[in-house]
């Protein structure tokens, strides 16, 4: 199963239409979360939004997550060890207030389990590829540096009250 999500805020029909065109040609079920949009997909089951718990369940069950380049989707894919294709929103198409998703793609391209599609062609190539590897799991059990340092900052600031 492929799970398509455009995030919680704004519609992203360019991505939805691209995926809709692709899934007509492949034999795999797809669940699409497409936000508030008048566009009606022709080839896939779609819903406006999912509850947080349903969202995690969908990611947990899917083979592949296809998403706007939002950090929430990227982190959820990593947490649940799923490969993700990210397709950036662009301000020039009115898809977001600015181009930070393009920057996100540039920064994350090449990381294990993260695949960047910039065009509908990229998307088709990645979705129809049989095997997309997920992120590395079970290797990195060390605490995040930001967690260690933030805890230290807090304990220095509140040292006297502990």
């Amino acid at each position: 199963m492929i799970f398509l999500t455009i995030g919680t805020q704004l519609p992203f029909d360019r991505l939805v239409q691209s995926v809709d065109a692709i899934v007509g040609d492949i034999d795999e079920s797809i669940l699409a979360q497409i936000g508030e949009t008048p566009y009606v997909p022709q080839n896939m089951k779609a819903q406006e939004s999912l509850l947080p718990r349903e969202f995690d369940e969908a990611v947990g069950e899917c083979r592949l997550l296809v998403s706007h380049a939002g950090i929430g989707s990227v982190l959820t894919a990593q947490r649940l060890a799923k490969p993700i294709i990210i397709f950036p929103r662009q301000a020039s198409f009115g898809e977001h207030r600015n181009d930070h998703q393009l920057a996100t793609c540039k920064k994350l391209e090449g990381r294990p389990g993260i695949y960047v599609a910039r065009t509908a062609d990229d998307l088709r190539q990645l979705i129809t590829r049989q095997v997309l590897k997920g992120p590395n799991t079970g290797v990195d059990v060390a605490e995040l540096e930001i967690v260690t340092n933030l805890r230290e900052h807090l304990s220095l600031t509140f040292g006297s009250t502990f």
Partner: protein
């Protein structure tokens, strides 16, 4: 045990807050977010909802503001931490007035420049963090990131 209010919008801001959450282990933590069902997903017991808002919607901002004000008077946190966006910024501002130690963590989505909310926060917070090393400068520090 000192009290900490950890607040963020739903979506990516919240996922980041959840990854940073182990840093709050020495605090009595209240979590606040804008999307129903998120704290439950993580099994958080002490949580509340704040109406979502953004800079373009004054009415929503006022609603968020009063909820945050009420929260602050009720919980009186020693620390307020946010990963953004607008409701988090408001919580830091109100928290600062109430004497809390306030911390802004700019979203990891901002890899080319600090967000507008982050820039506003930098004027008054005690700790201002970016999650990208190349964006650290002056009072904006880098101590790691979630990606």
């Amino acid at each position: 045990m000192p009290k900490l209010l950890a607040i963020s919008s739903g979506g990516g801001h919240w996922e980041q807050l959840m990854l940073i959450r182990p840093a709050f282990s020495d605090f009595d933590v209240l979590y606040a977010t804008t999307l129903d069902g998120l704290p439950e997903k993580y099994g958080l017991e002490n949580h509340t909802l704040v109406p979502d808002c953004n800079r373009n919607d004054v009415k929503a901002m006022i609603k968020s503001f009063f909820k945050i004000l009420w929260l602050m008077r009720k919980q009186k946190p020693d620390v307020v931490v946010t990963t953004g966006a607008a409701p988090g910024l408001m919580a830091l501002a109100v928290g600062r007035v109430f004497g809390a130690h306030v911390i802004w963590i700019d979203s990891v989505a901002n890899s080319e420049k600090i967000s507008l909310s982050g820039k506003i926060a930098s004027k008054f917070v005690q700790l201002h963090l970016t999650q990208w090393e190349h964006l650290a400068s002056g009072s904006t520090k880098y101590i790691g990131g979630v990606l």
